[in-house]
Amino acid sequence: MPFELETAPHPEKLKRVAIEPVSRVEGHGKVTILLDDANKVQQVRLHIVEFRGFEKFIEGRPFWEVPVMVQRLCGICPVSHHLAASKAMDQIVGATLTPTAEKIRRLMHYGQILQSHALHFFHLSSPDLLFGFGADVATRNIVGVAAAQPEIAKMGVLLRKYGQEVIRMTSGKRVHGTGSIPGGVNKSLYPEERAALLKDIYQMVAWSRDAVHLIKGLFEKNLEQYNAFGRFAAHTMNLVRADGAMDLYHGGLRARRADGSTLFDHFDYGRYWDVITEDVKSWSYMKFPFFNAMGNSDEGWYRVGPLTRVTQSDFIPTPLADKERQEFMTFDNGSATGATLGYHWARMIEMLHAAEALKDLLHDDDISGRELMATGQRQERGVGVIEAPRGTLIHHYRADENDQVIRANLIVSTTHNNQAMNEAIRVVAKQYLDGKELTEGLLNHIEVAIRCFDPCLSCATHALGQMPLDVELVAADGTMLDRVLRDMHGVCVRE
């Protein structure tokens, strides 16, 4: 798959337009667009400009500290990191979770899916979808939504609040709790907490269903535009349960080629490196993972997240969400399943699934059980994988005999989607920007494409010591005076 528009042959002669920062996403990123004299787009890149370094500075820390520390990568989806790290540490302590521990963690996770998807759809993306991608920027925001459609805004706020309450009750805090620990959890649900959540859960299910219908209605209304917007073909990867059902907490890896054929299925994520490798590029702090079977990141990149999970799982194990999935799959002969804006629809189906799964768990007495912890045979290595709101999240650790972490590798959901996001914005740039005088509204189309993936840029950039650099010294007339390249092994070459 060629990367048209990734690198212009003579960038020094082109006009540069930057969208900096990209707004209504988590973390900090920018988009650069290079245009020729006729305003034809020659190069488009999504750059991740922040740097974190978590994998390095958790080295030497005790393994039981990691689930609490690494969740600080993010303020929106910390539960995902908390749980992925805990799953890895379960392996290090050799534990098989008790039913109560697993169900409390699932409760926490579905609360996270609910709040994160609600936040993204209502607070961050609904202004584009409700008002139009090029609408007046003064009203194209959540305050504008609250003024124009207060019921929708209220629904979004209360759905998110409910998810946050589930997280607080299971982890201790709405953001950055400590509930999940290696081998289990530190609390189950008190009766009064369970009663409080049960009281409102049916409303949450109903609102989540309304949200699915809202985005479905927008697709119906704008069918041609939504289907074509930023559309591209990609390989996919997601976790699935043993019976092929969607499972956001645990399962085996399923990868399919862009043509729908299976690359691998039910693959044990404990050896993810047998199927995935991370590539690096000099212009981004975010890595570019690819399927080993494809040989390189040019051919082997893929996408993850709600659109992949909804379309590539055989079914969703809750009835209302599965009914919506079936409608999504057959809508307009399946056209939405390959649409970049289909991410929003799929995301709302997942939110409905999360609400239904919460309802089922809240009726399960195990969530108030007292058996919280398990132990087993100590292991050196642990790999934890979870389907975070934004996609497959991989945490990999090794701990020495003194219980200190000696190696860590995180492949974060947004990192898997790195090339996919770049593809989407290049398609959109060609569709909407080529040859035109750029306006804020047109440039927002680029951001709309990025927002489909709900990227968390702060989560996705954390590598240290492996990033290549390309330093250019350019004279005022555009002449290249000097250029130094550093590869991923730290070797510098002057060109």
Binding site: G60, R61, W64, G172, G177, I181, N186
Partner: protein, 235 residues
């Protein structure tokens, strides 16, 4: 009939027995004087200076100063709490105290005292010292990043455990540190045990029992239940 001896603490009459320090008498009367290095089981040594009070207008460490009849002791005054906040800020910047991921959070005397005294920021530039973590012992880990040099572990090991595992060594602001009594300098090579009194004396997160971090949920940790001013006087 012997006369009841009292002194005044923030305007309240506090009874005391002969030989008691101001801290001991205040503690017995249920009055909180902020402190870090003082512990009722061990001899006071007045090193953290957080328990500084004004006695008849002059500064003194309440943990070492004997109570005497008629003293006028100022304790929780804005002036003294302001100085205590500064002392706390100095302690926070001298070490690497990252409360968000510290398993002692919620059970930490330093953190709880900072909350009690309303310390909102570190104010001073951080030192970011390069201090070791000793995880060599099978049951206990030492993270010296959080050490405030209270020396309670030294006293507990010496006086309660009779082992002399910890000693205070080095000189100067950056050189002073806890040294382990083994040739290698590692905890694993001492006769330290997780059952020792010294294993549970650390007021901050230096001496940690392994593999139990974060086992107590929010809401059930020591200072979730009550502020340090109530917890400490109940000891």
């Amino acid at each position: 009939m012997s006369e009841q001896h009292t002194f005044q603490l923030d305007g309240e009459e506090i009874p005391f027995a002969a030989g008691q320090t101001i801290m001991q008498a205040a503690q017995a009367a249920g009055k909180y004087i902020p402190h870090l290095c003082w512990h009722p089981e061990f001899k006071p040594h007045g090193s953290c200076k957080l328990c500084t009070v004004k006695v008849n207008g002059r500064f003194g460490s309440s943990c070492t100063m004997e109570a005497s009849a008629g003293q006028n002791v100022e304790n929780r005054t804005p002036e003294l709490d302001d100085k205590r906040r500064t002392l706390l800020q100095l302690l926070f910047v001298e070490g690497n105290h990252f409360c968000p991921s510290c398993e002692k959070s919620g059970n930490c005397l330093l953190q709880a005292t900072a909350y009690e005294l309303g310390m909102m920021t570190p104010h001073f530039d951080h030192f970011y010292p390069d201090r070791p973590v000793d995880a060599s012992h099978p049951d206990v880990m030492l993270d010296f990043n959080r050490c405030i040099l209270c020396s309670l572990c030294v006293q507990a090991s010496e006086l309660a455990d009779k082992k002399f595992v910890f000693v205070m060594g080095g000189r100067g602001m950056r050189g002073r540190k806890i040294i382990l009594n083994s040739e290698s300098g590692r905890l694993a090579d001492t006769d330290f045990s997780v059952e020792d009194r010294a294993a549970s004396i650390c007021p901050v997160g230096v001496i940690l029992k392994k593999r139990v971090g974060f086992a107590v949920p929010y809401g059930e940790r020591t200072y979730d239940q009550a502020p340090v001013s109530a917890v400490e006087v109940a000891k």
